[in-house]
Amino acid sequence: MKGIIKKVSEIDFGLMSPETIRKMSVTKIVTPDTYDEDGYPIEAGLMDPRLGVIDPGLKCRTCGSKGGDCQGHFGHINFARPVIHVGFADTIHKILRSTCRKCGRVLLNETEKLEYHDRLQSRIDAGEDISRILKQIHLSAKKEKCPYCEEEQEEIKIDKPISLVEGNYKLTASEVRERLETIPEEDYIYIGINPKVARPEWMVLTVLPVPPVTVRPSITLETGERSEDDLTHKLVDILRINQRLKENMEAGAPQLIVEDLWELLQYHVTTYFDNEASGVPPARHRSGRPLKTLAQRLKGKEGRFRSNLAGKRVNFSARTVISPDPTLSINEVGVPEMIAKEVTVPIAVTEWNIDKMKEYINNGPDVHPGANYIIRPDGRKIRVYDETKETVIENLEPGYIVERHIIDGDIVLFNRQPSLHRMSMMAHEVRVLPYKTFRLNLCVCPPYNADFDGDEMNMHVFQTPEARAEANDIMKVQEHILSPRYGGPIIGAIHDHITGAYLLTHKDTVFEEDKAFQIIKRSKMELPEAKGRPWTGKEIFSLLLPDKLNLVYKAEICRKCEECKQRDCEYDAYVVISNGELLQGVVDDKGYGSGSGKILDAIVKQFSPSDARYFLDHGTKLAVFGGVMQRGFTTGTADEEIPKEAEDRIAELLERSDRRVEQLIEAYENNELEALPGRSLRETLEMKIMQVLGEARDNTGVIAEHYFTTNNSAVIMALTGARGSMLNLTQIATCVGQQAVRGGRINRGYIDRTLPHFHKGDVGSKASGFVHSSYKKGLDPLEFFFHAMGGREGLVDTAIRTAQSGYMQRRLVNALHDLSVHEDGTVRDNKGTIIQFKYGEDGINPAKSDYGAVANLDRLIEEMRLEDSRASK
């Protein structure tokens, strides 16, 4: 350890006085030139060597440290005439308006002063915002006559960026400064200035600090040409004008010329601080690009604050494409060997691990479980090379630190952007694998919102034991199965895992014992005792369930019959689990799917996250090897095939609804339509047509569904909730339906019609974007066009929505991130203000709750009774 780490306890803000600027300056800068002909920096120029060094190897003329270690030193420029600081122009204007033009006192009478003083002082002491009171003062300190010296006041206006005009006379910066100087110190509080750190006249600059070269490094291009930083360019401008102004003043040039130059100096100083100030044309680079000056460096998303201070670049991280691997645990991540050899973990050498460490060093940086660097006790970092490794091994002793490659079992942080919630960054255990992609278990796709169409993810390696301990205990994937958003599982099976589990637990699935054992073995589960008879799929699945699990629920395939037959359900949709035995019902999306899995939910809540991890790891494998891979599972257009007679019925049905639409239009044209309350006739017609066409589409769906049986793969996927919906299938098989733009039928395009293929005023089904064809049959050109219109709206919608909700989330997080629960159960912000006396009125953590409730009381009672009856037996 390197001794005590100091803590920053506070940061004070204040203005710099001209004296401090001069005092901290190492040199006065006068020459606008930077380098002489030989390429050496000019003394008293902008690149003066006393301002610090950038090139490593050179020594700083001021502090003597080497390049890289020297953080640079400020210089200063003395202005020939004072200039106003743009950032304070508004403040200066307000101050001048509320102070006397002669005696400089704030235009408040004694009683007002007394009242405001107390209010201001108490808020300042409490560290609260005073801008609202200042605004009030500003309004009441607008008097015709000074209450102290009786001087008549004249109105001062601000002319866009920086010029202040009193009556018709434009005040010069010197005059402004003089006036600010006269303001007595006891009045500072009313104009919002803290006399301890600032004086109003300091807002008018007489001397400018010149930042060290490290702040504005010049770049040497390949051609050997030097390219200076934007700030340097701006400082050159300032110096040049300042010099000319000084010369002209000394030579006694006419007032007009001096004023022009003064104005120019003001312009350059203004753009030096802020090149986007309103009313000032931005200073440009030779190429026409606006310069990036001080304010631009700090501001906005790419500014210093948001991109370098609130977010920082890190080492020991990796990024690559992701791909799926169902054989991994949800807690694991497959790391390509190439990456494993690049990112390292620092391990302190001890007596007990020294041999292992030597082995790593002997492997070197290019053989996998190797080491890249060692750090000697004196802090020197040494790279391990094949040539040097022998000596390194010889010298290795406890106290050294070895940076070894990451190996299986190391814990790393895994992340996918956008990181919208805490499940976007979870800790995984490393599995070093061949090839070049990160591999992850499919169950963790939903929390990361990842798919494998080219998504990339980031990995970070923890560097301290504290970080690893924390990650292992609270950031592991298994600790995040339940979402804090709603207290239910967010991690769970998706797609083929669900179909697989359905097929496995289906009534008709029976395996010979040896086959069943093969499946169990392949799923990496312990072999059970032999039964000497064939196994049902449900029996195999039951092996996964904890022995004490009791659960009753309705599966996703439930048809929602009017009267539930419960245990006699003919679709096997009534799931009963008793003492860890799946007695009846199929396992599908409701069983262990992400977002709704009941079994999964029960296991995490009644047992433990690691039991849930076991269930998911092996359950998904079982679904793949015992379900999908035993039977084979595929889908194609053949699955959406419907017989000719059905097609005829559909065509007839659509024709009938078209006729109905015509009738409605006719009724509308003959004024026979009755308007719905609060709607115009036109709107009523539109609503009625939409209703008729919607029903028509639904009815075609009903016809098609009649021919879709449960041995159809596409139907299995839709019913079990694995992928797709019945709506998707009927759109493929029968009729796509109405295309919508802006929530209604399509009505825009040409005058009174959507396309020139129709008559003017045609509002029939075809002309307004109803697609009669099915996806399978194919859309005609007009339908295709309307379909594209609807599709485009969807795309635009998504694009806008992401931007809007992203900004909303940023604001929400920013407003709430300081809140935390304190020891007394209150929720407080960083000032200690109580926001809630008890978190959520009951102090329950939603992530640990049962869908927001403390407990499912009915289930608790049921469980309790079951236990009792068992005990009495």
Binding site: E128, I193, V197, G300, G743, N830, N845, P846
Partner: protein
């Protein structure tokens, strides 16, 4: 099984910190399952165990979790601004735009609506409610006249009050004529025949102007409001769950609550600013919770109520409804760095310098900026060394 009985059991086992709502739920569940006294005690103990396990730990960063839980589903919401919520005839802003509107604490929301309920005495009195509906809803002269005619020759506008409509709207003709006489000076009323004149002189040169004036007068006549509460437009009267309810477009809860017969407990508006003004900050807090929760729920997204409560409590904690963003909570943070890192970087830094502000680095982002552990979760604890001589 009554609540008091459960409460005594709860107190006996030392779980007196249970919220009343939970006690009530236990009582209900006990009723449903016919619990014996013995079983009840056992159940309470089990609930206590669960309660203790599920309590939030000190240091938990509940603010960030709440913000993420409310913000993350935003990506899954539809952009479709207008949708018919329950009432087909009225448009209401829903989904993400509504969420943003609530969180922004907008003074003027895009679709204010009210649901007006009536006391038991009147809630099934259709006639009364229809009459109320007409009194509340905006009716302009245009709605009750027929044969509207602008006569450019004689510079008069004639119209006829439609008695049938008046009857349907339950208006008295005297109310209408009274209102007309109050507004227009040059008007002659003959039973239900109206004729308006402009202040037009017969000067030839002013003819052009006269026509313009006549048209303006026509618009003014048509737009004359003869009935309705200020701020409220269309009303829809519906029979819902065995009572008559009025839904309105536009909102003015202050005026509506003063109308006799209105149930002041259930009548509500979706305008949070108005609720704050009329009913106070606690009501506004509940309104924010209700609006956020129903907006999410309507989109089929479940968000735990506690997250929404925290957002609402943060917005209302100092007695006024503050928006989430630079003009509200984020702009009033005590830390300079936190404000500068959010928005308007330059302004905050410059102001801090003349005010001589001090940043005590107590928040999250300040500590991230200076590179120190944040004071939440595992970072909220430390070790104090005790010197032993």
């Amino acid at each position: 099984m009554d609540v008091e009985q459960v409460q005594t059991v709860v107190n006996e086992v030392g779980a007196d910190y249970f919220p009343i709502k939970l006690v009530e739920e236990i009582a209900e569940a006990g009723e449903r399952n016919n619990l014996t006294d013995e079983e009840l005690e056992k159940l309470v103990l089990k609930v206590k165990e669960a309660y203790e396990r599920e309590e939030v730990e000190p240091g938990e960063s509940v603010g960030t979790i709440a913000a993420q839980s409310v913000g993350e589903p935003g990506t899954q919401m539809t952009m479709r601004t207008f949708h018919y919520a329950g009432v087909v005839e009225l448009n209401v802003t829903l989904g993400l735009p509504r969420l943003i509107e609530v969180v922004d604490a907008r003074k003027k929301i895009s679709t204010p609506t009210m649901d007006i309920y009536f006391t038991d005495e009147f809630k099934n009195d259709e006639e009364f409610i229809r009459k109320m509906g007409n009194k509340i809803g905006k009716i302009t002269l245009n709605d009750v006249i027929k044969n509207f005619n602008v006569n450019y020759m004689d510079n008069v506008i004639t119209a006829e009050i439609d008695q049938d409509i008046l009857d349907e709207r339950r208006l008295e003709i005297s109310e209408v004529t009274g209102e007309i006489e109050k507004t227009f000076k040059h008007v002659t009323i003959n039973n239900n025949l109206l004729s308006f004149e402009t202040t037009f002189s017969n000067d030839e040169e002013k003819i052009q102007q006269g026509i313009r004036e006549l048209r303006l007068l026509a618009d003014k006549i048509r737009d004359l409001q003869i009935s309705g509460v200020k701020g409220i437009g269309k009303v829809v009267i519906r029979h819902e769950q065995n009572e008559w309810v009025i839904h309105t477009e536009g909102s003015n809860i202050g005026a509506i609550l003063k109308i006799p017969g209105v149930d002041i407990v259930r009548t509500t508006t979706n305008d949070i600013f108005e609720i704050e003004k009329v009913l106070g900050i606690e009501a506004a807090r509940n309104a924010i919770i209700h609006e956020l929760y129903t907006t999410m729920e309507e989109q089929g997204l479940s968000v735990d109520i506690r997250h929404i409560m925290l957002v609402a409590d943060m917005m209302t904690s100092d007695g006024t409804v503050k928006s989430i963003g630079r003009h509200g909570i984020s702009g009033e943070k005590s830390s300079v760095l936190a404000r500068a890192a959010f928005e308007e970087t330059g302004k905050h830094l410059l102001n801090a310098s003349i005010r001589g502000e001090v940043d005590h680095l107590t928040g999250i982002i300040e500590n991230v900026i200076v590179g120190q552990p944040i004071p939440h979760g595992t970072g909220s604890v430390g070790i104090n060394m005790k010197k032993i001589d």
